[in-house]
Amino acid sequence: MDLSAINPILLLASLMVAATAVMIAALGELIVERAGVLNLGVEGMMITGAIIGFAAAVHSGSPAVGFVAAAVGGAGLSLLFALLTQVALANQVASGLALTLFGLGLSSLIGQGYVGIKPPVIPKLNIPLLSDIPVLGPILFRHDMVVYFGILLVVLVWLFLKYTRAGLVLRAVGENHEAAHALGYKVVRIRVLAIMFGGACAGVGGAYVSLVRVPQWTEGMTAGVGWIALALVVFASWKPWRVLLGAYLFGGVTVLQLNLQAAGIAIPVEYLSMSPYLITIIVLVIMSNRRSASPASLGKTFHAAQ
């Protein structure tokens, strides 16, 4: 074993990359849950976004087109969930599971012709001046666009929820849909929009896995990141900034265990690969006594009685 082979600067830099997919997906789910809807289909929407984004990027030669296509694909798939839970008033837990099972099948069907292909490379930004700062430069300022988009999204979601009227309405719908309905807000419409935003975010997060993190297509490649995104929302007590924190924690664990694998530590690879999931469980346990933070109408079906 050679621990000195692990470069802390590279480690921190790749931590930011490893955190991005789960962060974007979790932010989408955060909005969905603040609107009072529990969508367990994040994994299914991510994997679908991963293959749609991959396919679009390969055919167009442009990663940007890939990300847009992934967002559209994720949002489209989430519409199925919206239809089930908001129109057909089906159980949200079951519908979310159905979405994940369906998405896994759909993605491997689409992905058949894409195994072993290399996607177009996304350029690193190398921000002038800033990227030359020793230590901080390589860690913070030499990433691709999507890493910064993820951080920007944290800020935007935070501003939206805290300072805009629409954000207030969304929260009202999530806390008490009966009252929001009585005030004349369109509960179903707001929730459908939130679900679609969540789907788009999950799609982009998935595309980040297939286009940047890995970058290639393999079946089931998101490997539970969508579920970790769901756990992250709980960890974050439904607050955007804490999603950022949690995503970096998760990214750190992932990168560290990969580095330890590469350094040839005496722990078998399989046990190291378990660690992100185990850490997620531990974090869930620590955070679970703060139940009160969850939106009051979360997971409840709304049916406006005439």
Partner: protein, 360 residues
Amino acid sequence: MLTLEKRPQPSKALSYITPVLAVIVTMIAGGLLFAALGKDPVVAIRTIFWEPLFGEFASYYRPQLLVKGGPLILIALGLSLGFRAGIWNIGAEGQYIIGAICGAGVALAFYPLDAWYIFPLMVIAGALGGWAWAMIPAILKVKFGTNEILVSLMLVYVAEQLLASMALGLMKNPEGYGFPGSRNLQQYPAAFNGELIAGTGMHWGVAAAFIAAIFSYILLNRHILGFQIRLTGEAPRAAKFSGVKPARLVLICMGVAGALAGMAGMFEVAGPSGQITLSFNVGYGFTAIIVAFLGRLHPVGIILAGLLMALTYIGGDVAQSRLQLPAAAIQMVQGMLLFFLLAVDVLTNYRIKMTKREVA
């Protein structure tokens, strides 16, 4: 304008009809999907749902119905108890893997001893393994209020890594020329879970599934615990007032589901699969969720749904080899089935009414 009006009671007749309706709609949608893939939809549907039962090689395929249906039914029966009470154990896949590892572990520990008690010990080990794996989310939920959905699911990924570690390390066949995977239990008579009646596919796992269905029926309809489970699902507040202890219910429901899933894994590794390999688990734990819902969380319904789902697996294999229909298409159709079921279920709980749009 169409509006929904909640029925005072869910319609009993419709709750029987909707699963059939969902299957029919899925067949139509599946046919469209197959047509989009360039296959003749009628031939594809016939190959999947008809050929394995009544086709030319039916005598070969029919036993597979029980082989594949057995684990699905066994797992789904366990899950249905929790689902009824609003306890969401969706990590059955992990419990299935751990059950298989524990069962195979016992067998490999005794190898090559030939004794009657090895197989029963394996069953117990498998059940205990699945039970213990399910107890992790259950105890965390009871003690700390941790979300059982996420924990049980995370443990699936942990179990998969453990399986890989076993196949490559501890349980690797010392006479396997370095290939990953354990000794084949089919060649170890004391541990082999063979067919009970030759040519039927009936092995101990299938027998266990039917026994479990009977017990589950009695539990739900004739026992106070079953009443408490149903009450908690339908009216949680009333359940609390009537003295139901939610923590106890969580431990029991998760424990039973885990033990049954663990047993299913053990029967599989000792029989049809034969060995612990990297690709041992094929998603029965997740498909069983569909089975549980399609079967209306009712033991008899689950048996029928399990057999139907097994049919899609077998028919999917046939269609794959004969029509080059991708395996993923079948997986998608299985997912669709749950979708359509949830969608048409609205008819069970609500009445669709025509109303005039009101002027504010």
